[in-house]
Amino acid sequence: MNEPIVNLATFAAMSPDAGLRAALQKSRADIIGEISASGIKGRGGAGFPVGVKWNLCAATRGTQKYVVCNADEGEPGTFKDRAILRAHANLVFEGMTIGAFAVGAREGILYLRAEYTYLRPELEAVLAKRRAAKFLGENVCGKQGFNFDIRIQLGAGAYVCGEETALIESLEGHRGEPRNRPPFPVDTGFLGRPTVVNNVETLAWVACILQKGGAWFKTTGTDKSTGLKILSISGDCARPGVYEFPFGVTVAKLLETVGAPDAKAVQIGGASGHCLPSSEFGRAIAYEDAATGGSIIVFGQQRDMLEVAANFLEFFVEESCGQCTPCRIGNARLREGVELLSEGRCSMRYLQELCALGETMQAASKCGLGQSSPNAFLSIVKHFKDEIMGRVSVASH
């Protein structure tokens, strides 16, 4: 029980920097072609195709472009990026370097959340070694004219800065308030320059793809969700930890692996994700089905699902940047609603109003935080009506 479980077998099997060396032999178009052929989509949550993003950035003019690695990992229940940075930072930096070559960037920034400050010394040491070995700096790996280096910038404690435009605001020295999109970072990013923002895990997979090929990557996963996914599994289970699974794996299979035979519900995708009751454990982890950036939280039979909803809503009330009304006011209203529910003082009609409010927030919020913050509440209301309606009847007698 004492050693944390970290299964990153595929990353561990890679040869160091073989992907980068292979990339430097190719044209930029061929690198992006290989990425596109793999079908890889972003691992940070939104699931945007990496090849498309890189192509857009590569097509912009100018030489002042940036590659940003999003290591803000703030989604409740997610800790796989920490594990990847601890064990395979070289692979992540390799992926950033490949990205820089492909899109024509000269500077890379790793945006590391403040809570992970303790990782900084070891990451700086890895960067120093890479510089000494000419994997960073002028003429990377002897490739004439390819100059690229990476620096680390720490976040300062704000979940919303994981959203890519808020992250860029923060890098520029501003409050982490999301921007309107478009324009997208690929053309107007850091300091107004074209910027590629990718998740830690995405960049590690990119290095694997350049080493093993897009076809290799596609041998696992589903048609729409190719490859393997690193999941962080916590909550009521015997063996929580970091696991590697092919996309398409069922929730039931995950539960079997981590030792949770009697789970009541599973939260897929963290506080912004959806809550599945046991009747839906046959569903698959994939962009087209039960999507997650890596967070899986297991709830045992003894758990009160309203407390779960309250905990998540508290999180969003705290972390909303406050820029737009649906999110700022909506989350506070939903949290009050959960209080009423748990005291048994919420009428069915008011519950329906709360659900309608949640749907408005999904549609009208400015960024992904507000758009997804009602998900957990709405799915808990939907699937655990018995638990919730029971309390309504308690109040009425």
Binding site: F79, A158, S234, N311
Partner: protein, 173 residues
Amino acid sequence: MLVTERERLREEITALADRHGRQRSALIPILQEIQRGHLQISDYAMQVVADLLDIHPVEVFSVVSFYSFLDEKPKGRFIIRLCRTISCDMAGKAAVARQLENDLGIGFGETTPCGRFTLEWANCIGMCDQGPALLVNDQVHARVTPEKVHEILAACRRVFGIYAQEQKEEHAV
């Protein structure tokens, strides 16, 4: 603040600006170093940073107030941040919270009168498989139990010298 203290702070911040640059994107790295060294970013420090970066002090304040790791009010020498998000909650964070309050004699959001400890809630700190988890400044502690709380605090107190070890914080003013 004494004039000499102010001068020293201005010199220190000028050195930070020389190192990080005076462009707007240097703002947060500069503020982070001030926070680390002084446990707060005072009004005067904000004014100096604004002068050096040629921006309005309100801009600096709005950034300081946005981020939970930057503070205009003084914090303790050790900031303890206990995760209150769901996985740590289910793993028993409530007992750890109570023990921290008991041993420090303060509630969450407070600093001991002696200025040694600040107790705060954190949202998920990425240790959900090993909860309850907390941060003491930059260091992470996993699988914290009420008993371990005592060890963690004792290790902090050792920094203040052996006489400080057994004192209860509220008596140590």
